[in-house]
């Protein structure tokens, strides 16, 4: 193997993958550099360039002073909104999905396979088919333009994925284990708590990462069902670019984009292995 390492064909492979890697990194590098350049500097040159003077103040402005749609509190309130929607919805949908996945795979009950089949259809049904009904539901329950409304939507819709993930993981657990526990008198919850949950960390990590990333990055429901100060950060970013169309403030905007992208990027960096596992599990269905 070693003598082949410097063969011309190997060099070509390294050259190509390095070039593609640089191309994939360019957008990230450009945004990071711009978030550290002053607005004047960007206007004078272009979006692509090395900072002449490091403008770390951009992050402060983006975080707490920036104006989005007449309110000048930076991106902070919208980050908080996203967190207040994403964290509860991720926890609820994962826990409920784990219980449901356990019920349809190991506990078994009459009608389990058909209801599981219907629930997984949710993976395919486009959001556009649910926009109007959610509008009516939120209006009638008084939850329009509230974070609670978004939490409920993401919890219920997330169930399709979380149930699928957990069910596919739990079917590998031998049914005899459950049967033996039932003979010993253990009930539904005790078996879940004592047997299933201790076996679950790998799939729970995958599910939590998947749900967190998806809900944090979601835009359509955020922009449809909330306005102004109630919007999640994805919707606020769009409002922000509309607001600065007249006076470009690309330095501050780049800082805002970096802040908004940071939570999911960090999760990807830390839990990369589980992230990829969820991706492939979600695809193969």
């Amino acid at each position: 193997m070693r003598d082949r390492t410097f063969a011309p064909s190997r060099m070509l492979i390294y050259l190509v993958v390095s070039l593609v890697a640089v191309a994939y990194l360019v957008p990230l590098i450009v945004v990071v550099l711009n978030s550290l350049r002053s607005n004047e500097e960007i206007v004078q040159t272009s979006m692509i360039g090395w900072p002449r003077q490091w403008a770390f103040g951009n992050y402060l402005t983006a975080w707490s002073d920036f104006c989005v749609a007449q309110t000048c509190a930076g991106i902070r309130p919208y980050m908080l909104n996203s967190a207040l929607v994403t964290i509860p919805a991720t926890i609820f949908s994962t826990l409920l999905g784990a219980v449901a996945g356990y019920a349809v795979s190991l506990w078994r009950f009459r009608g389990d396979s058909w209801i599981y089949g219907v629930v997984t259809l949710g993976i395919f049904l486009p959001q556009q088919m649910r926009l109007l009904p959610w509008t009516i539901v939120l209006r009638d329950t008084g939850l329009m333009n509230t974070l609670t409304g978004l939490v409920i939507i993401h919890t219920i819709q997330g169930l399709s994925f979380t149930t699928l993930f957990c069910r596919n993981y739990y079917v590998a657990i031998p049914q005899e284990l459950i049967r033996a526990a039932r003979v010993d008198g253990a009930g539904f919850f005790r078996i879940f708590w004592r047997i299933i949950l201790p076996l679950s960390p790998p799939i729970l990590i995958v599910t939590v990462i998947w749900q967190f990333t998806h809900i944090w990055n979601e835009f359509l429901y955020g922009v449809t069902f909330t306005t102004g100060q109630q919007q999640p950060v994805t919707a606020a970013l769009i409002a922000l670019s509309a607001a600065v169309a007249d006076i470009p403030q690309h330095g501050v905007q780049s800082a805002a984009v970096m802040i908004a992208a940071l939570p999911t990027l960090l999760i990807y960096l830390i839990g990369g292995k589980y992230f990829v596992r969820g991706l492939t599990a979600g695809a193969v269905k």
Partner: protein, 308 residues
């Protein structure tokens, strides 16, 4: 639950099994029923609305296919549909090719494979809003790549697809490939890693070179993965919304309109709920045109596997 049993024995009256097991029934059925019921009722309700004369508010009544013919007749929908065909096929094809190429390159036992794989895959962790915003800066002729090249001295350089009616849809293709070709790569790489080692060894003994090896032995085993990648990417292409909102907002004019934007526009900007619902159902039909053959294929494959 042991508490309820204890409580029952204390009062001396046995609690019926069904009541005792109520918490269990609730835990099983409430989430599953909520999920299933919302899917079925929401889908049926939207389909029903698409046959009513609803405008600003949902009303009952029956207008047959009038909403559908109205939507199909608009220039907006025609452009959106043509764009979807172009964007869908170009994006799926190019991300397949990119993903497969990257997977094959990474499969050559190269150094730093993990780092490279992370680099090719990281864009999928950021939102389409972020991707669209960043690419709208890079592709903006006034201060993006074109401006940079001008500043470097090549003043006749032109890269203004973002504001060019005919080329703008390609900016969405570029951003979409950047965002999700890593996904194709990850699946292909997993497939390449699970190719039967004996098969490869046998081909090597037969004297197959690397090119022949890939064409004749390895790539044919990747068919199932290829189809999965195509279906997942098509599903994404059909429902693309955020990316366009952030990158071009459907413009210039309506040049980069896509079905999901038409639905949103009809429902929430023009207040034409009936037509908006009809457009949403049309989107569902396009999706089914992709998913039903896929489901049939999967079914046949599974049957063949069990019979073999």
């Amino acid at each position: 639950m042991t508490d309820t049993v204890a409580a029952a024995s204390r009062t001396g009256r046995p609690i019926p099994g069904a009541v005792r097991r109520l918490p269990e029934y609730l835990a099983i059925w409430v989430p599953l029923l909520l999920s299933a019921a919302h899917l079925i009722s929401f889908a049926l309700w939207t389909i029903w609305i698409s046959f009513t004369p609803s405008t600003l508010v949902p009303v009952s009544g029956w207008v047959g296919l009038r909403n559908y013919t109205a939507v199909l007749a608009t220039r907006n929908w025609k452009i959106a549909f043509d764009n979807l065909l172009l964007f869908g096929s170009a994006f799926v094809l190019l991300s397949l090719v990119t993903g497969l190429m990257l997977a094959i390159l990474l499969d050559q036992r190269i150094r730093g494979e993990n780092t490279l794989r992370s680099i090719f895959l990281y864009p999928i962790a950021v939102s389409f809003v972020v991707t669209g915003t960043v690419w709208s800066w890079l592709l903006n002729p006034g201060f993006g790549i074109q401006k940079l090249v001008h500043d470097l001295g090549w003043t006749s350089f032109r890269f203004d697809w973002l504001v060019d009616r005919d080329m703008a849809i390609w900016t969405i293709v570029i951003a979409a490939i950047w965002q999700s070709s890593g996904f194709a790569m990850a699946l292909f790489l997993a497939g390449l890693r699970s190719v039967d080692a004996d098969l490869v060894k046998a081909a090597q003994i037969d004297g197959a070179g690397p090119v022949r090896m890939y064409r004749r032995v390895i790539l044919p085993t990747l068919w199932p993965i290829t189809i999965t990648v195509i279906v997942v990417q098509l599903q994404f292409a059909i429902s693309t919304f955020d990316l366009v909102r952030a990158l071009t907002n459907g413009g210039p004019g309506i040049a980069t309109q896509l079905p999901a934007l038409v639905v949103y526009d009809l429902m929430f900007q023009r207040g034409l709920l009936g037509r908006g619902a009809a457009a949403a159902v049309l989107m569902l039909l396009i999706l089914l045109a992709v998913l039903l053959p896929y489901a049939a294929w999967r079914y046949l494959q599974r049957r063949r596997a069990t019979h073999a």
